[in-house]
Amino acid sequence: MKLDVNGQSAHVYTGGKPFDPALPCVVFVHGALHDHSVWTLLARWCAHHGHGVLAVDLPGHGQSAGPVLASVEAAADWLLALLATAGVKNDGQVTLVGHSMGSLIALEAAARAPALIGRLVMVGTAYPMKVSEALLSTSAQAPLRAIDMVNSFSISTLAAKPSYPGPGMWLHGSNRALMRRTLAGPNATGCAVNLFHHDFSVCDAYSGGLDAAAKVTAKVTFALGSADQMTPPRATRELAAALKAKVATLPSGHSLPAEAPDELLAALRGALN
């Protein structure tokens, strides 16, 4: 569905059912150069098991209008504005689920609205989420090459089963296609260089994680990939301790929603319960 957030059109996938703000709400936030479609299996499960689902396209990504937002903090403000626009009011009944860059946005949003956000699930996360200079510069100068690099770093196997979102999909190819399309998307405006470099820069620059953690009252779950080279599990210890997070380590690389959808669903169900 489309929502008007701060005067801009925002695209939200609702899991195959109309969104009902009266239900406990699960909000999914994608990572760099992704869109809502990385969440569709989980989103459909939640929508058909008693939840209202909002899987967002961040501004400038997928089908949401640009311009892109300048920082994790700005994206968190936008996310909370979107929840208000959608009519989400039930304090403590909102679960934020974020992947990679989206996990930082979810963290910051949970810190800004502690009464609203009852649960926080950070998938493939790290703090600080520093991006190597080599990857930053490649994303600026040769974004298609950087996509191939990230694709390789993010996926730990040549045979991710069951394929996402269904049999016959080749995860390396589908992730590459999604990142290329997001990079070239008509709404990817407002970036100094390009959307890939912008998203990486946003992750790299975010320094408010521990301050945010101090304000979070939600129950926190980390879902981490045991073979994650982008955000390795060891890079989460300080943040996990600050958030008193329950940590689920799954057999996956960084692309957990697509590489380990069943295991991630189990972790999410654990968090929701």
Partner: protein, 432 residues
């Protein structure tokens, strides 16, 4: 999987989509000859049917062995995913039926395999889908033929029978300007030779019966999606961008930004038309693909030697191989097919239909049959077989002469193949 990019082609040909079986440890991909797969619980069953989970339910829709093949070809083509079908014709039909319906229109190259031409020109017209055929090299004709109801541009990477190389970059640009996808039949150019997605194609299909299988044992097809085409933004494909009552009101472009086409093709096309691939067939094609890089190199090496011999032979009037001087597609072949133009080509014997028949019947290593892409060398004389009802004038319009011979060069010793051809040419000469 360490590294800075995907593994190379030869590695993907062996490993993409497959892993040692977690239950038995089997290293080769097992053949899952099971029609159906047990649900863990009623809740699990419901979630599979509602696409809340990924997995296998019934082998008409998907199967673990077949899925390995689908991932393998998607990896080799640089695509997002694939669907295996009962034949190459089934793959073509599945692509069209997913995107077009009564009232739709297709623009297609006139240089097509006869079965594809029949489907488009006769069979689909009965179902309300019309086709305008254009000469593949006539770029203005491609553009001019597009109508508001057009849903697809379609051509063969190497056209039949003259091996016209499709100008994929230009034709795909024309398609994209009109917010349409380009589908190519890449049967004669497996991905070791050509990766059409790199040049702008959106959908690829193969008759996997041919080089991908490579052993002349099974019939199968593969339909691959690049994931690059924006079906929703096109505005011409409500099948993919509007709720589908036949599957939970699903909007496929919402469910998967890059997999919308394949989701609909599988959940409607395979479900309702049912032209699925047997897992046993998938397994045999996987065996073929494992050696595809080695085989294609040898196919091309042998073909080049035979082409050179024929081009210099006094009994041969013409050799239609795009690497040769004078072939209308030579420049495009250099651009798109630097590894070679495959192993299927035609040549004209100086002489009559009777001499063509004599040539065929004198061959010993080349098998006279209606197939291509086998590891064994094959031959056919169109004027006395596939096109025998045509008179010479009609043959000429189809680009076929009374002495035209089509070869599919196999993996035998090139010297033996050349000896066989020379001996048969001598017999044909004496039959004048």
């Amino acid at each position: 999987m360490p590294g800075y990019s995907d593994p190379g082609f030869d590695t993907l040909a062996l490993h993409a989509g497959a892993t040692p079986d977690p239950t038995t440890g089997a290293r080769a991909t097992p053949i899952h000859l099971s029609t159906s797969f047990v649900f863990q619980s009623s809740e699990h069953a419901a979630s599979l049917f509602n696409m809340e989970r990924s997995g296998h339910v019934y082998s008409r829709i998907s199967n673990p062995t077949t899925a390995v093949l689908e991932e393998r070809i998607a990896a080799l083509e640089g695509g997002a995913g694939a669907i295996a079908t009962a034949s190459g014709q089934a793959a073509l039909h599945l692509a069209i039926a997913t995107l077009a319906g009564a009232g739709s229109h297709i623009v297609a190259s006139s240089a097509l395999y006869g079965g594809s031409h029949n489907l488009l020109d006769y069979t689909l017209r009965r179902f309300g889908i019309s086709t305008t055929f254009v000469q593949p090299g006539d770029i203005d004709a491609w553009r001019a033929a597009i109508r508001p109801e057009t849903r697809l541009l379609f051509g063969e990477t190497l056209g039949n029978p003259g091996l016209d190389v499709l100008d994929i970059p230009t034709v795909s640009a024309i398609a994209h300007d009109a917010k349409l996808p380009l589908l190519v039949d890449s049967t004669f150019t497996p991905p070791w030779l050509l990766k059409p997605f790199d040049h702008g194609a959106d959908l690829i299909f193969h008759s996997a019966t041919k080089f991908l299988s490579g052993h002349g044992t099974v019939v199968g097809g593969l339909l691959v999606d690049s994931g690059a085409f924006d079906w929703a933004a096109s505005g011409r494909f409500p099948e993919l961008s509007a709720p589908y009552d036949g599957f939970h009101g699903m909007v496929f472009s919402e469910e998967s930004t890059v997999g919308a086409f394949l989701l609909r093709a599988r959940r409607e096309g395979l479900r309702d038309f049912g032209a699925c691939m047997s897992p046993h067939t998938a397994w045999l094609i996987l065996q073929g693909i494992e050696t595809l890089p080695l085989r294609m190199a040898r196919h091309v090496e042998n073909t080049r030697k035979i082409v050179a011999m024929l081009a210099a032979h006094p009994m041969v009037a013409r050799v239609g191989y795009p690497e040769l001087d004078g072939h209308p597609s030579q420049a495009l072949a250099k651009q798109l097919l630097p590894r070679g133009c495959g192993a299927v080509f035609s040549f004209d014997i100086q002489g009559s239909r009777a001499q063509g028949v004599a040539f065929i019947e004198a061959l010993k290593l080349f098998s006279h049959l209606a197939n291509v892409g086998d590891c064994r060398s094959l031959v056919i004389h169109p004027a006395s077989t596939t096109h025998f009802r045509m008179d010479d004038a009609a043959l000429a319009r189809a680009g076929i002469g009374p002495g035209t011979i089509r070869l599919s060069v196999g993996l035998e010793d090139a010297a033996d193949l050349i000896d066989d051809l020379k001996r048969a040419l001598k017999v044909a000469e004496k039959a004048a």
